[in-house]
Structures are given as structure tokens and as C-alpha cells.
């Protein structure tokens, strides 16, 4: 930054090339440049950090397990301001986190964005809750048109193995077992796991879902 300011056309040609020992005019001009630069940097830092904290959350506001992200106080009247801003921006009306928990995944377990032209295997074990559901959306939260009219699988309809575990195939073309179609359009995908009335709660009364209970998302192949 120092050299940039020094080379700037705004600085009057200094009699001596030292930054801090110029004539008065050069000094005040330099101060102005510094001030503007400081303000621009502050604006970028302030807005950028706010956006990051509202969009991605921090360990204080969110639980992150694998690809899943869940806001701890979503919908809660006592929620912090980051969570409030996140919920307002989402356009949703989530149930308070003492009644329901929501987890969103936009990537697979390796951090690669979920895409409609890939196939994924979601494997999971039963969740300790009254009702839960895995639903598939486009990146804006819209349901994806498909010929079988299948947009989600919930705890009541999922085909499961004898031990309660399940597999959901996320794919463009029909798959055996539980098939969640990714649709004909090449686009990014979002998964939402909604868990109503979790039976365990943490000390704050927030529904508790053990991290290892959240389903794994494995990418199998891409077109």
C-alpha cells in the first residue's frame, strides 16, 4: 500500500523520496489518499465479513458435519443477529430449533458442489425424531421437475434395511431402492434434511442430532 500511494499521481512530486518527510501539501494529499483507502478497505472488510457470517455462519451459530450445515438458533426468538439475518435472507419460516432442526448440504462429503449431472449415494441411519425428511432442490430452493413427481423421502416412506439404515440414490435416471431424481436441467443442487420433534435436546433445549447420524453423501460418477 505504501509504495502504491507513493507512486500515485495524486502525490505531489516529493523533494525527498521518503514517505514520511515530505512538504506539507504532499503530506495532506497523502493523508487523504490514506483515508479514502482506509475507508474502502474498511467497507470491503465490514461487508465481506458480515456476508460471510450470515451466509456461512460460524461455529457459534452453526453446526457443520460433513457436507451438512445447520443453524443452531434458526427461528428462535432469542436468536443472535447473524441467525436472524440468515433466516430473513433465506425467505423461509423455519420452526424454532427446539421443535425442529434443519440441515442443508450443497456439496458432497468431499466438498464438491452437488450437480444434477452426477449420481450420488446418500447413506444414513435412523434419526431419533418423530418425523424427518430428505428433500432435493435446485440452488435457489425450488423443487426440481421430474416425471415421477418424486421430490423427497421421509421417515415414513423410505425403504430401509433390517437395521433401519437406508440408501437414497440421487441420479438423473431411475435407480433401484430410493431414487431421488436430479431432473433434466444441468444445475447445482441443494439437499435439505428437516427433522421435526427431535427426541434429544442439548442444554439450551435445542434439538440435538449427533453428527454421525447425519447421512453421508458420496459422489459415484458424473456424465
Amino acid at each position: 500500500m505504501t509504495s502504491g500511494v507513493h507512486d500515485s499521481p495524486l502525490t505531489l512530486a516529493p523533494t525527498r523520496p521518503t514517505v514520511w518527510r515530505d512538504d506539507e501539501a504532499g503530506h495532506s494529499m497523502r493523508s487523504l489518499v490514506y483515508f479514502v483507502a482506509t475507508f474502502v478497505v474498511a467497507l470491503i472488510l465490514g461487508i465481506g465479513s458480515a456476508w460471510y457470517m450470515i451466509d456461512h455462519g460460524s461455529p457459534l451459530t452453526t453446526t457443520k458435519v460433513g457436507a451438512w450445515e445447520g443453524w443452531l438458533s434458526a427461528g428462535n426468538p432469542n436468536a443472535d443477529y447473524y441467525t436472524r439475518a440468515h433466516v430473513a435472507r433465506s425467505g423461509r419460516l423455519p420452526l424454532t430449533s427446539t421443535v425442529a432442526r434443519y440441515f442443508v448440504a450443497r456439496t458432497d462429503d468431499n466438498g464438491r458442489a452437488l450437480a444434477a449431472d452426477c449420481t450420488y449415494l446418500i447413506t444414513g441411519r435412523p434419526l431419533n425424531a418423530r418425523w424427518w425428511s430428505v428433500a432435493l432442490y435446485d440452488e435457489y430452493g425450488g423443487l426440481i421437475a421430474n416425471s415421477s413427481g418424486r421430490y423427497s423421502f421421509n421417515s415414513e416412506e423410505l425403504l430401509r434395511h433390517a437395521d433401519g439404515s437406508y440408501r437414497i440414490n440421487l441420479a438423473r435416471n431411475a435407480r433401484p431402492e430410493n431414487w431421488l431424481p436430479t431432473g433434466a436441467v444441468d444445475q447445482r443442487l441443494t439437499l435439505m434434511l428437516r427433522i421435526y420433534s427431535p427426541r434429544e435436546t442439548d442444554a439450551a433445549g435445542i434439538g440435538f442430532i449427533a453428527g454421525d447420524r447425519l447421512p453421508k453423501i458420496e459422489r459415484l460418477s458424473c456424465e
Binding site: 474498511a42 428433500a135 430452493g141
Partner: protein, 187 residues
């Protein structure tokens, strides 16, 4: 003195960045015009139950609506007195949740916790009381719940998660039996 100038600018920059951060976070909820509340408010009048068609591609008032949940809502306006919301509990999965315009879910009740076939919520503001509205002691009736609302206008959102793919029709019928309107002794 002059040697400390960069330090001053860095300090000033950090303080400014912090202030901008705080203002941005606090201002965002009111700058988000399409929050959940305003999306529903656009769908119909106050103090009546509006059923939302099953979520389908291109047919969702809110993003990320559950395709396997049936929704109905009542936007309540308490400025002319308390509002009564009654719902038939056909399913223990039924969830009734009350929201402020800021999307805070300040009250919720689950069907499984109501040991009656019907539940009645009387929504009042802090400066109202149900006595004034002509009720002697609604607390004596088990299925009547008086809910204090922190706002005079909000949304009651009913969710009925489907207990299986064949349950959609029954769920929609159950939500049709919901009523919402100004509270009165006769009603």
C-alpha cells in the same frame, strides 16, 4: 508522531470495518423485502385460513418448502381484538407455529402434546385479555390455549407432515377443518 500514522489508519480501518459489519448485520433483516412473512402476507387477507397447494416445481410461496408436508396459514391481526385459531388434531404430527413478521417462531404446539381431538388457540397481545373479550376462564377448558403474542400482526403456520405417500388427501382435509377469525363469545 508521523511515524505512528500507518498504525492510526489501521486502527481507524478496523474500527470502521467493525461498525460497517454491525450495521450491515442489523440492517439486513429489514432490507430483505422477501422474507417468509411477506411472502405469505401477499397470498391473502388477514384472520382467515389459507391453504397452500402442495409444493411442486414452480409452485412454492417460500423457497425450500417441504414437498411432503401440507401447509395452511392464518395471518392474524390483533388490532381489533384477540383472534381464535382452532384446528382438528387428526394426526400427532400436526405442528402449529406462530411467527412475528421478523420470522421469529415465538410459539409452537405439536399435535402429539394435545390430548384432545381439537385444539383452540386464543392469540392475544400483552395489553389484551380474554376476560375483556368475554370469556370467564378459558383456562378451565383443556383444549383452549391462550397465547401471548409479542406482535399485533403475525402468522400462524400449520404444518402437517405426511405419514406416508397415501396420506396427502387426509392431510389436506384435516387442514380444511382449521378455522381462524376474530375471537367472540359466540364464536
Amino acid at each position: 508522531m508521523r511515524m505512528r500514522l500507518p498504525g492510526l489508519f489501521i486502527a481507524l480501518g478496523l474500527v470502521l470495518a467493525g461498525l460497517i459489519h454491525i450495521v450491515a448485520v442489523l440492517a439486513l433483516p429489514s432490507l430483505a423485502p422477501k422474507n417468509g412473512f411477506s411472502r405469505f402476507a401477499a397470498l391473502g387477507p388477514v384472520n382467515t385460513v389459507i391453504q397452500i397447494p402442495p409444493a411442486a416445481p414452480g409452485q412454492q410461496p417460500m423457497p425450500m418448502m417441504a414437498p411432503d408436508v401440507r401447509y395452511a396459514f392464518c395471518r392474524f391481526d390483533l388490532s381489533n381484538g384477540p383472534v381464535r385459531l382452532s384446528a382438528r388434531i387428526t394426526d400427532e404430527l400436526l405442528l402449529i407455529a406462530l411467527y412475528t413478521p421478523g420470522a421469529e417462531n415465538f410459539y409452537s404446539v405439536v399435535g402429539a402434546d394435545v390430548k384432545r381431538p381439537e385444539v383452540e388457540l386464543i392469540i392475544i397481545t400483552a395489553d389484551q385479555s380474554v376476560e375483556e373479550a368475554g370469556v370467564d376462564s378459558p383456562e378451565s377448558v383443556d383444549n383452549v390455549i391462550v397465547v401471548n403474542s409479542p406482535v399485533s400482526e403475525g402468522i400462524a403456520l400449520l404444518r402437517l407432515p405426511l405419514a406416508g405417500p397415501s396420506r396427502a388427501d387426509a392431510a389436506e382435509q384435516a387442514l380444511k377443518a382449521t378455522s381462524c377469525g376474530p375471537y367472540s363469545r359466540s364464536g
